[in-house]
């Protein structure tokens, strides 16, 4: 039976509940698998937050993935801090029953942690991997929360304690995991960021196109039909009614006696009058002002773990197909692949004695494959890599766009020969899965002869546009 442990914070308060406690630097000496959740005293929430950060930045998945529950006296702390824990217990009403209740509530998380492969000796140093595991362990949809405490304006509370100031930002890490098909993003909102410092705290201001001052007055124009007099509304106001300064008639009904044809801005600094104010954006953080079109617009998303991500979180990133393929064949980066392509195209054009081909391969239902393979993924992908290795040659250049899309420059290979080779690869891959798993992965293949006129970007984009899902 697992039980909660209080982690001592730096504050002078005594431990408020009758629960075993441990100092943060003594955690490693505990039998952590018996810990149900960490209790952190949040009466001085800044101290509690430091403790939480230390827990989440621990390298052992048994420690940093373990649920955390806050002990709180009041709710007077920022919402994103509260949401960084798995839950909170009110100090006023805390008793054994509540503590027990939380043990059972967090049990699915603990169960998932204890079933991780090599969990005892694992040391997760990759921050992206820690993020992936933390999200997966909670089986949650990671929702952004607005905040005024971070320049980004949005935080993913549970991830915040993972990141020290020098780490890559949370949003960049999530984007990376999404690009690797480990997370799936869903649109939540859009936000504007300062092009200089990345702050979301921007002040959109109407300003004078002449002197750039934002000290503007705005007024409606009133047109009195009878005498054609036009002036600002303030000129017509006469007590509680409107009266024309020109003919002194009372304006009774809009649309009958008068209308409001437009609005006019007046600069209180330079006296310029205009209708089309210049919109400027001032950053609260760095103080710089720029035009709105120069700001960076980012899509804010919620994230859930994909099938590939689930597999990677459980068995490690080493189990990903691209990692295995990389160790067998050496995958080049997309940039290096572009360089090789241009060299090859120039060589073919220069000597006109040989032909090379560009093969584009996509595994259509790779997600299904990961779900089906589970813990066997690493083993099966090793066999898959062996097939790639047997069909492709040392001189072929291969790159992966992600887990499911691969591009290959097949040097000194005519288009027909390339077709034959890739067909062989397809047959072997299908046979591998059919014989071992009774599963037929769908492969989409396209082959193009390389010449100097070929626009690699366009060719790849066309392939992705036509086939990628």
């Amino acid at each position: 039976m697992r039980k909660p442990w209080v982690i001592k914070t730096d504050n002078k308060h005594s431990v408020p509940v009758n629960v075993d406690c441990v100092a943060i630097d003594q955690i490693d000496s505990l039998p952590v698998e018996d810990v149900a959740y960490w209790l952190i005293d949040m009466r001085i929430w800044q101290d509690g937050w430091q403790t939480l950060c230390q827990v989440r930045r621990h390298l052992s998945p048994k420690v940093y993935l373990r649920p955390v529950v806050f002990l709180m006296e009041s709710m007077e702390m920022p919402a994103e801090i509260q949401k960084a824990a798995d839950g909170h217990i009110n100090l006023v009403s805390v008793d054994n029953a509540i503590l027990e209740d939380w043990v059972s509530r967090v049990e699915p998380v603990n169960h998932w942690i204890n079933h991780l492969a090599h969990v005892d000796e694992a040391q997760d140093t990759n921050i992206a991997f820690k993020v992936l595991r933390l999200i997966t362990s909670r089986n949650m949809e990671l929702e952004p929360v607005t905040t005024v405490r971070r320049n980004s304006g949005y935080v993913y509370p549970i991830l915040e304690p993972l990141f020290g100031k020098r780490d890559t930002g949370v949003m960049e890490t999530l984007s990376f995991l999404e690009s690797q098909h480990l997370l799936t993003g869903k649109y939540v909102s859009k936000a504007h960021y300062c092009s200089h410092c990345g702050s979301a705290f921007l002040n959109f201001k109407e300003s004078c196109p002449h002197c750039s001052s934002d000290d503007l007055a705005v007024d409606e124009l009133v047109h009195h039909f009878k005498c054609a007099y036009i002036a600002e509304m303030s000129e017509f106001k006469h007590g509680d009614h409107l009266q024309c300064p020109k003919c002194e008639r009372e304006l009774r009904h809009i649309g009958v006696d008068y209308d409001k044809p437009s609005m006019v801005f007046h600069c209180n600094q330079c006296s310029h009058t205009f209708q089309d104010p210049k919109i400027m954006v001032a950053c609260y953080n760095c103080g710089r002002s720029t035009e709105p079109e120069n700001q960076i617009v980012k899509v804010i998303q919620s994230y859930s773990v994909s099938a590939i991500g689930l597999n990677a979180a459980e068995y490690g990133l080493e189990a990903l197909f691209t990692n295995i393929l990389d160790s067998e064949l050496r995958l080049y980066s997309i940039n290096a692949f572009h360089d090789f392509f241009h060299v090859e195209a120039a060589r073919i054009s220069r000597y006109k004695i040989s032909s090379s081909s560009l093969a584009m391969i996509q595994f259509r239902d790779i997600d299904q494959l990961y779900i089906k393979l589970g813990g066997r993924a690493q083993e099966v992908f090793a066999e898959l890599s062996a097939i790639f290795k047997s069909v492709l040659r040392q001189s072929d250049i291969i790159t992966a766009r992600n887990e499911s899309i691969f591009f290959v420059i097949m040097t000194e290979t005519k288009k027909q020969e390339a077709y034959r080779a890739i067909e062989r690869l397809q047959e072997d891959v299908v046979a591998l899965f059919k014989n071992n798993l009774d599963f037929s992965p769908q492969l989409v293949i396209s082959i193009e002869a390389i010449d100097e006129q070929m626009d690699l970007e366009k060719t790849l984009e066309d392939f992705l546009g036509n086939h990628a899902v």
Partner: protein, 435 residues
């Protein structure tokens, strides 16, 4: 031979018969337009030469003071003309100018063009009224946001000669009692069609020469909306323009009623685009002529009657206008009936001789215009002389028919209150209030 017949007919006429046959020409048109033109111009040209020192002194004072001049341009769907107008202001000899353009509810790309010019600094203030309010309200909007000591009202489809702003301001520095100065208006698109050529000749006669003479006689009754300069304090006293059509004639008379002089400056030149077809021209004149009845006969008829504010010059300006333009318009009916009833056998000769008389009068008027404006005329303006033989038909038939129809429609139905030139909401109030 008809020509011999005409000669014989003329030779056989006594002085009494000449008057009986051709009284409209000899008693009215020749006296009012030809003789008066020649006499006044013969006085005006030497006077202008003698006043050269006064003009130079006025110019010196203008440049010493260097007041801000507001050029206001109200208009609807006139965006395509604005760049040319803005660049013509950029090239003025006088530089302290602000250009204020008011878009009166355009439904084309006027706003886009003007905003771009505003960004480039060619327009100092651009106001777009999303809801159309009519020309007067647009002009008043521009006036509201103008800051100049003098305000020059220009039609959007016009542009200025390089020294027009400077020249139109000089009369203000020669006579402190001048409240408004009318600039000369010439036809910018004279070469475009036959109709525009006819109007180019007409403008030289009736605006350049006619208004100079009216100005000299102190009976000038209109400062054209296309090109007119106003003292700002005068416009402020009047709270700007009243509901049109014919708002330019209306405000001129209101300025006169305040006791200010209004003059015409023929050397301050504005080029404006005129209607290119006779049908469009007829519609334009129909509007202009109706406003004569609406404003002279109805709104400002008080100047014709004795009162504490009675002013002889204002009386003459209105009375001359009503007499020669409106009352004498019926003389053609009387004359036509007289000829058909009493001289049916001589109709052919009478028509030919009338044509000849009016042709000679038009040639002489063209010569007078050339003498008055020769320094500012372009070579192509002189070539318009080729078309003078057609002018008697243009003024004597076409314009007269349009004018007569306009007067009738205005007297009988108040047609100006139904003109689409104003939005219906404004016309409705104008009719109800008998404005």
């Amino acid at each position: 031979m008809p020509f011999e017949g005409v000669i014989n007919f003329v030779n056989g006429l006594s002085a009494g018969q000449i008057l009986a046959y051709f009284w409209p020409f000899f008693l009215l048109d020749m006296t009012r337009y030809l003789f008066l033109d020649v006499i006044v111009i013969l006085i005006y040209i030497p006077k202008r030469i003698l006043n050269k020192a006064r003009f130079l002194n006025a110019r010196k004072r203008l440049y010493k003071e260097l007041p801000l001049i507001s050029v206001i341009v109200p208009g609807k769907n006139e965006g395509k003309h604005i760049p040319r107008l803005a660049y013509s202001l950029d090239n003025q000899t006088y530089k302290n100018i602000e250009l204020i353009v008011v878009d009166d509810g355009s439904d084309d790309n006027t706003a886009t063009i003007c905003r771009e010019l505003e960004r480039k600094g060619k327009i100092q203030c651009f106001i777009r009224n999303e809801v159309r309010g009519g020309k007067a309200s647009a002009a008043n909007t521009a006036l509201k946001y103008s800051n100049g000591k003098y305000v020059i009202h220009i039609d959007a489809d016009s542009h200025l000669a390089y020294d027009a702003v400077e020249t139109i301001l000089l009369p203000f520095y020669m006579n402190p009692n001048i409240g408004a100065v009318g600039g000369d208006v010439r036809v910018a698109n004279a070469e475009e069609t036959f109709a525009t050529r006819m109007q180019a000749i007409e403008y030289l006669k009736s605006i350049s020469t006619g208004r100079t003479i009216s100005s000299e006689l102190n009976i000038l009754r209109i400062i054209a909306g296309a090109h007119g300069a106003f003292r700002r304090d005068v416009l402020d006293r009047l709270y700007g323009w009243d509901v049109g059509p014919g708002l330019d004639g209306d405000i001129t008379l209101k300025i006169r009623k305040l006791g200010f002089r209004v003059v015409h400056e023929p050397m301050a030149i504005c080029y404006t685009n005129v209607p290119t077809t006779f049908w469009r021209l007829a519609k334009q004149r129909f509007r202009w002529d109706r406003s004569m009845v609406r404003f002279r006969v109805r709104k400002h008829r008080d100047v014709l009657f004795p009162s504490a504010q009675f002013n002889f010059a204002n009386f003459m300006a209105t009375a001359e206008n009503i007499f020669f333009n409106i009352i004498l318009d019926i003389k053609w009916c009387i004359y036509f009936i007289q000829m058909v009833v009493f001289y049916p056998d001589q109709l052919e000769y009478i028509f030919i001789i009338n044509y000849f008389l009016y042709l000679m009068a038009n040639i002489l008027e063209f010569v007078v215009a050339c003498a008055l404006l020769h320094l500012s005329l372009r070579p192509r303006d002189y070539f318009l002389a080729v078309f003078i033989p057609l002018i008697p038909f243009y003024t004597g038939l076409f314009l007269r028919i349009v004018r007569t129809y306009a007067y009738l429609m205005e007297f009988l139905y108040g047609a100006s209150y139904m003109d689409k030139w104003n939005p219906w909401k404004v016309s409705r109030i104008a009719k109800r209030e008998k404005l």
